[in-house]
Subunit: 356 residues, 2 copies
């Protein structure tokens, strides 16, 4: 633990109710970015001396002192088919977290915040998704006792009128990522095959920079397959390789060995977790200034934030100037799990003090 984290240990433990989404285990067995964040947060809060009640589904998988198991197994097969699991989860979490038992509720589910108005204690909601369109419409209508946490300042700027109480970046377990100082010349791109993620831009940039490109990621639904067939497949060959979906170990190997993560994101993604993972491996990030990127990448220190394809090409050719140890150190200082734990603890404390 860093000095900052230790210094933040609170003298007064809080009683926190954490509500997970109903769809996957906590932590998730495979995919589930939000679920991984929830699991890590619970463990961090317990490590910091707080009492956590976790409301979730499936076998217990965190350090929470009390576990309320809504479904024996998460009803993943009903995702997109029935909203009943969300509604049941909301009713059960309201019942499992009576006002006298918790100081506040931190709700990561979709329907749970609907019932915040029936409670006297504050509810913190982390906005894991987008804040525009229908999601913003919903957040705007929640009870005033619901306080929102952004996962980046960029996300917050897209809807400044919402009831924000703070920003806490998502985090990764930095120690679980290998720091490697001797990199190959390859560049790596990792993500879903959606045009928004910019794999087609990565292909152009790598080619012009004279680097071999490794693409890795999920290729499941019809839109992803069609984009891949039209924009990606024609470029595959010895200089552009697609290695399929990768597991946790393969991801670490890929990120650690690459000269850089090429992250030419084409939309205002609230938080790009793979950037934090690359930095944890001591791998610089070459990226575009969209969404959370300017907050995550320190231009010239841990990578480059580039406004054009020309700049991206030049950046890829200049990544050797970035020190892997600086990337790793920045990941530890800003995107490690204890930092996220301390960030949420600060938000809770702020809120309870303000309401006291």
């Amino acid at each position: 633990m860093s000095l900052e984290t230790e210094g933040a240990l609170t003298p007064v433990p809080m009683r926190i109710g954490v509500v997970a989404p109903p769809w996957y285990r906590i932590p998730p067995s495979a995919y589930g970015g939000t679920e991984a964040v929830v699991a890590a947060l619970v463990d961090q809060l317990v490590a910091r001396g707080h009492h956590v009640t976790l409301v979730a589904s499936g076998p217990p998988g965190t350090a929470a002192q009390r576990y309320v198991r809504v479904f024996d197994e998460p009803p993943s097969d009903l995702l997109g088919i029935s909203i009943a699991p969300e509604l049941i989860q909301a009713l059960e979490s309201r019942r499992a977290l009576p006002d006298e038992d918790v100081d506040l509720v931190h709700d990561h589910s979709a329907a749970g915040p609907l019932l915040a108005g029936a409670s006297t204690r504050p509810t913190v909601v982390t906005v894991h998704g987008t804040v525009d369109g229908i999601n913003g419409d919903l957040l705007r209508r929640l009870d005033g006792s619901v306080h929102l946490v952004a996962i980046s300042d960029a996300q917050r700027r897209l809807a400044p009128d919402l009831n924000w109480v703070g920003t806490v970046h998502n985090a990764v377990d930095v120690a679980s990522f290998p720091l490697r100082r001797d990199k190959s010349d390859d560049v790596v791109w990792l993500g879903r095959f959606s045009p928004d993620k910019g794999a087609h831009v990565a292909i152009e940039v790598a080619a012009r920079a004279g680097r071999r490109l490794i693409l890795a990621g999920k290729l499941n639904d019809a839109a992803e397959r069609s984009y891949f067939s039209e924009e990606i497949r024609p470029s595959l060959g010895p200089r552009v390789r697609y290695v399929g979906e990768v597991d946790a170990a393969q991801k670490r190997e890929l990120l650690a060995g690459a000269s850089c993560l090429l992250f030419p994101i084409q939309w205002d993604e609230p938080f790009g977790m793979v950037m934090a993972e690359a930095l944890a491996c001591g791998t610089p990030v070459v990226s575009t200034p969209r969404g959370s990127v300017p907050e995550v990448v320190r231009h010239g220190e841990t990578g480059f934030v580039c406004g054009s394809v020309d700049e991206l090409v030049a950046a890829v050719m200049a990544v050797d100037s970035i020190d892997p140890d600086a990337c790793r150190a920045d990941a530890e200082a800003r995107f490690d799990l204890p930092v996220m734990g301390a960030g949420y603890e600060r938000v809770y404390r702020l809120l309870l003090d303000a309401l006291a």
Copy 2:
């Protein structure tokens, strides 16, 4: 209006908040069984002297004295993709229907009943879907102020422990269906191409009875297409015709002209609307004893309820013994819109009297 309906006119008007699902217009422009029932119910309640506030989306389309329009147009494109419309609808309906403005709320949405606990007035919820599995789990957890109405006694028997307050059959606008006394020899089957709906049974029964069979219905998703290809298409020919999806006018023409509706349902469907539509046309129903069938079809008077394929074959050959006028009269007496309006009015009154 029948005498019974006039007799039920209440001396004391009620103030009723009706909450529709958010996904389609009320009434629906095309599909939407629940939406059609909601629209008809609103109009019936107004005709009976009550004050109705309808919370729905899209342009106003009912006689409701007050209309709260949540979305300018229903967000149908988000169905199955985002639950935010359901949650917004729930929050807006709670806000639009303060306790002092309505005597009770009749909620047809999925998420709305979650907020019933925050209210002092009773909420009536019609269970339009199934009551087993996850839906029953949800209904079982709702606040005690939520009173459920079944659309058939059969539905109610599948979950007798739920907080039922009554049964009100769905209804059709009988006057909009043509009564025809001179029928062809053809039999008609009308529905979705799901094995549960028994089109493959209808083919066998019609063939053995020596009748020509007309199949009509939706054929959209992958499961429907696969069932159709394997079980239905090989039998198509001069004696088994598939006429595609039918509109309201074509449906009436088909039902009115057929010697019977063949309805060999293979599951406990809560209410089979097409049976009421056939009866309204003076067309007998030949069916299997599942779900609402024994409540809807009067065996030997308006059709036959048959426990085996042999019995179905014999029934198809005996449908001439059924009087079209008896079918029409039964539809008017039990499945016409004013009957449904009176049924719900009785439920509301019962509830308000019990709580007074």
